[in-house]
Subunit: 641 residues, 2 copies
């Protein structure tokens, strides 16, 4: 079942165009201000291990994860854009971490200084294993980006120690992380070092999760607590569903609980399934994929419908205004989609990956790279603008930072490594998943380079140039996006039969390629109307607009207030237009619409007539670009009339 | 400006038909189970003053108010339906209260036993004055219903004591209640006793409210607290807006804060304005009326859009699913509307009173009189059915009782006194505000009796029979409801020109009436479509159904689940039908509708086509009757297509 497709490393990929700009902004703006925030909030200084009992502001249990994600992002950035000052900064942090690491390999400042007697005593709620996973991912990225293995060796020691503490041996704790993540880190550690035991430990964590007797029950009793008194007490099923331990993963069929946790688990399990050729995980992973993407995912690729528990709720429950849709959850969906894609070689995984990237992920950071959304609602109503306990102003304007600061460094590490999501290789095959200006080198044992020329996602044309010192036979598999109808393809000007060539979403061009061969792909991008399943209560009678991979929204700054008064006629022409003044240039969508008016009904609160309409100009902008101008109302779903 | 219209006392009115049944159920079912709950929860026993420091479950600061409302309801009930057992029960409670009353007149068990040092130290948050008001209302009702003046004399003593403590004199506290209510009680006490000082004290409380320096600031500092740390910290303006003390009432123009508090203040201030001929209050009261009824009121007459603060929010913010719409707030709106009606003699006040009564008030109690809603949402979605912190299951099924039990005895006292809302008298005038089978005696100094024969609100025909021992000249002013178009009127079979006779919503029939004169009023009741103002975000594209004074809703039990999938075509015929099997018989509304279907779009979460429809039968029931069968989804506002 698993293909032998492997993602091409970001270290081989140079991004230009749309994503190149985002990557550069990330490097120039985001990484420095994130370091600044890590310093300002004490997360860097905590590594000096100088906190003393009784002092205020003790190091928090998950601070290491924020620092780790920043190091990981720096590692990715340095791989393609050397920056000695940045590298020195990261080296210094790693040096501090090295001193903070305990002789046995343990590394968590909080549980070393603040509550040393509580190490591993509550893996359900406390984030030691989660932090460890992020540190491992950082170690691998930094090693790959700089060749420096200090952190990598530190993390091998830590992983080895964790492998002693946790496992099914008689002296071991049969625990697993309350917030999944270490599974991903361990697989990366395995891939970087070739040490099978890290993969085995990842497999153990996936397999052990949710088995009976339940470790979190045992652990709670050991602490003298009632197992029932647990955060995930909300309305959506078993309390342990909050962290996906209500059942063994193989028995799960619906996405439950905290959305980020779920994504990290599913992604880690996909890694384990692929690396171990364990087919018993696929039925669960396939069902979970269907459930997430066809029943519980916003059109932006955002996931997690409920603020309470930052969680999945139930099928078709996708409220727009109260959507939680944490940036990290959309990022997690990208992680999972990318892994499913490698394993299954099916374009529908790339479709979801692309949907999340261009919409629900990218909305998490401002266009200038300096401010962040933790939640990414699909609608800002006057109620949200006023703010309330469950709908604070952090839904309307991006923030400099968050007390729980998982999202900013998460988006930084994803943008810094995005080249790694664009291509895959297999025996005699090169796969292109994401289009965008740039190039990839070293394909097929260094024999082939591929360059893309395109203004995608703004333009419909993609040109791919092959470079190779001698003719090379391989199949070039080009993704035909699920949103695209009527794609056209030519090799050196010679039209190809796209439909006949396409299998599972990829047009397969097998030939002996020569240096200078030019493939042109035309991906028609009319503005499309998208309709939600009628079970989605909030979207009945409404339409969303999409052009290429981009989902659009209406903002008050373009359309005036009271966005709910606007209707888009079913037959209105949707015009795409280049708007250089918005966000450094985006394609905006324009239509003639109706705005409800008081004529025929008067100003009464309730009347016998619905009232008339006046014509209005509708302007829609890409969802990712919203909230970069004057704050105000916003809606993705528009009334249709 | 104030008319000399006075409501005819409930003691003169006999209700049959629709309201007679509700009143009888209230007497037979609600009053006994409420007494039982008052006993079960310790509210009755607390009056024995046996609680000792250190014991659990100390008497609560507002328990007296629940008991008082029950006594008030019993007083009303006994006026028209003698019941020696019930009277003995109430007498015993009053006797206990008499012993609990302190020598100085003070009566609050909590602040006598539990926190004796804190009496009057926090009138902003603690409910001493609120309870006093309810006790005064109870005293007057019980006196009028039974002729017994024990409680009345107790409350005169209490009021006299309060009048010593509070006021603008040099030794007095310049305070006023954090939860308004005593204003209403004092005016009733004034009317029952003729003692002007009670009216003056009510006027003082109205006038002093919100003046500077702010009493709640001073009082907080006296407690050693920061004035800013106050509950009403939410997003809707000045914190003191929560209890309407952000400004002097005369300067207020929008309805702010806790909706019940606001209604009691406005109603009390209307009393004060009417009784004192103080015209300076009307500009505020008129503006507040407009704001409430034309900008912040649900179509059911429910008010209070936000759970947080149980409060008014801002114009046109009327979410259906999260609506708070407390039963007490709709009751408070009835109180206020009835007072505005007496003062202004304008049918639009009666229209709102009737709207609230038949819909947002009556939904607060089950048809069997035994279970209660505290909140009355206009929509129950699958999310509400699942329940969450802000949308608990108490929104879906009526409850036996509540920890904060204001609503059940409030609805009991209103239903027990409803006859008092139907008629008014003025010099040579008899006004009919509410239609319904029954009679009113003793009109115009005992010379005239009026009897209504009708199946209103189900039927369009109302017959009014005059009885008088000798011909009597007076004007019979018959309300022509605002919802009604094309009313027809005849006296002794002789057609009258309704439009010409009608002034401010009342058809005025002046003549010398003779015994046996018969007026017939035909009020056409087609099922009407009602549309909300387009600024109401949630109701765009939707319609509500109303027939006569009744607002309708769809319930899952009649229409299947997924109510949002249902659309009512703009031109669908709306058929009214008598359905004896629902709630003892109601008029249901039926139409052919569309239900969204997957044909043409498939089962995908997102698709390029909206999909087709299938025909479906739509059944709507009166909103007041909802949640009396199988719990499920419900919606007042229906998609229109």
């Amino acid at each position: 079942m698993p293909s032998r497709m492997r993602a091409v490393s970001h270290t081989q990929v140079e991004l230009g165009g749309f994503w190149g700009e985002r990557e550069a902004t990330n490097r120039r703006e985001t990484l420095p201000i994130e370091y600044e925030q890590l310093e300002l909030t004490g997360r860097i200084a905590a590594l000096d291990m100088t906190w003393k009992p009784g002092e205020p502001d003790p190091p928090h249990i998950f601070w290491e994860s924020d620092v780790a994600k920043w190091i990981e992002a720096v590692g990715y950035a340095l791989a393609t854009a050397p920056d000695p000052a940045l590298e020195a900064q990261a080296d210094a942090v790693i040096a501090a971490m090295a001193k903070a690491q305990q002789p046995d390999g343990y590394l968590n400042v909080h549980f070393t200084l603040v509550e040393p007697d509580k190490r591993w005593s509550n893996v359900r709620d406390w984030h030691e294993l989660y932090c460890a996973g992020h540190l491992m991912e950082a170690a691998v990225a930094y090693y790959e980006g700089t060749g420096k293995d200090t952190l990598l060796r530190m993390m091998q020691r830590y992983a080895d120690y964790i492998g002693q503490v946790f496992g099914s041996g008689p002296e071991q704790k049969r625990g697993y992380p309350g917030h999944e993540e270490i599974e991903l880190g361990l697989v990366k550690l395995y891939r970087a070092t070739g040490e099978q035991r890290y993969l085995e430990l990842a497999r153990y964590f996936v397999d052990e999760r949710g088995t009976q007797p339940h470790y979190y029950d045992l652990e709670a009793r050991e602490r003298g607590e009632e197992p029932g008194r647990y955060y995930g007490r909300a309305a959506y099923g078993h309390p342990y569903a909050y962290n996906q331990s209500h059942l063994p993963l193989r028995e799960q069929r619906t996405a439950e609980g905290h959305a980020v946790r779920a994504m990290y688990l599913y992604a880690g399990a996909t890694d384990v399934a692929a690396e171990t050729d364990d087919d018993s995980l696929w039925p669960a992973l396939d069902a979970l994929w269907e459930n997430v993407t066809e029943r519980r995912m916003y059109v932006t690729g955002g996931i997690g419908s409920a603020h309470e528990g930052e969680r999945f709720t139930y099928d078709f429950h996708l409220p727009n205004d109260t959507a939680y849709t944490e940036t990290c959850a959309a990022i997690g969906l990208v992680f999972w989609a990318q892994r499913m894609l490698q394993a299954k070689a099916d374009g529908r995984y790339a479709d979801v990956m692309e949907r999340a990237l261009y919409n629900g992920v990218l909305s998490g950071v401002s266009l200038d790279g300096r401010r962040f959304f933790y939640v990414n609602p699909l609608e800002v109503t006057p109620e949200t603008l006023r703010g309330s306990a469950t709908m604070p102003s952090t839904r309307v304007e991006r923030q400099d930072w968050f007390g729980c600061a998982c999202c900013p460094p998460n988006i930084a590490r994803l943008l810094a490594s995005l080249g790694g999501y664009a291509y895959s290789e297999a025996e005699g095959e090169v796969w292109v998943h994401l289009y965008g200006a740039g190039s990839v080198t070293g394909l097929l044992d260094g024999r082939v380079t591929l360059r893309q020329e395109t203004r995608y996602p703004w333009d419909e044309e993609v040109a791919l140039m092959v470079a190779c010192s001698e003719p090379t036979a391989f199949t070039l598999a080009l993704r035909i996006p699920g949103w695209c109808q009527g794609a056209r393809l030519a090799v050196n000007g010679e039209r190809q039969a796209v439909a006949a060539l396409t299998e599972d979403g990829y047009a397969r061009l097998g030939r002996s390629w020569r240096d200078g061969d030019r493939v042109t792909l035309h991906l028609p991008m009319p503005v499309e109307r998208v309709y939600a399943h009628p079970r989605v209560w909030e979207n009945v009678g409404k339409v969303a607009l999409q052009r290429g991979p981009l989902v659009y929204c209406l903002e008050e700054v373009d359309n005036g207030a009271h966005l709910a008064e606007i209707s888009l006629p079913r037959d209105a022409t949707l015009e795409a237009r280049w708007s250089p003044e918005i966000g450094g240039g985006v394609v905006t969508v324009h239509a003639e619409g109706d705005r409800r008016a008081l004529a025929g009904r008067g100003d009464a609160l309730y009347a016998r007539q619905p009232g008339g309409h006046v014509r209005c100009e509708i302007t829609a902008v890409p969802y990712y670009a919203w909230a970069n101008r004057t704050p105000g109302e916003m809606t993705v779903w528009i009334h249709e009339c």
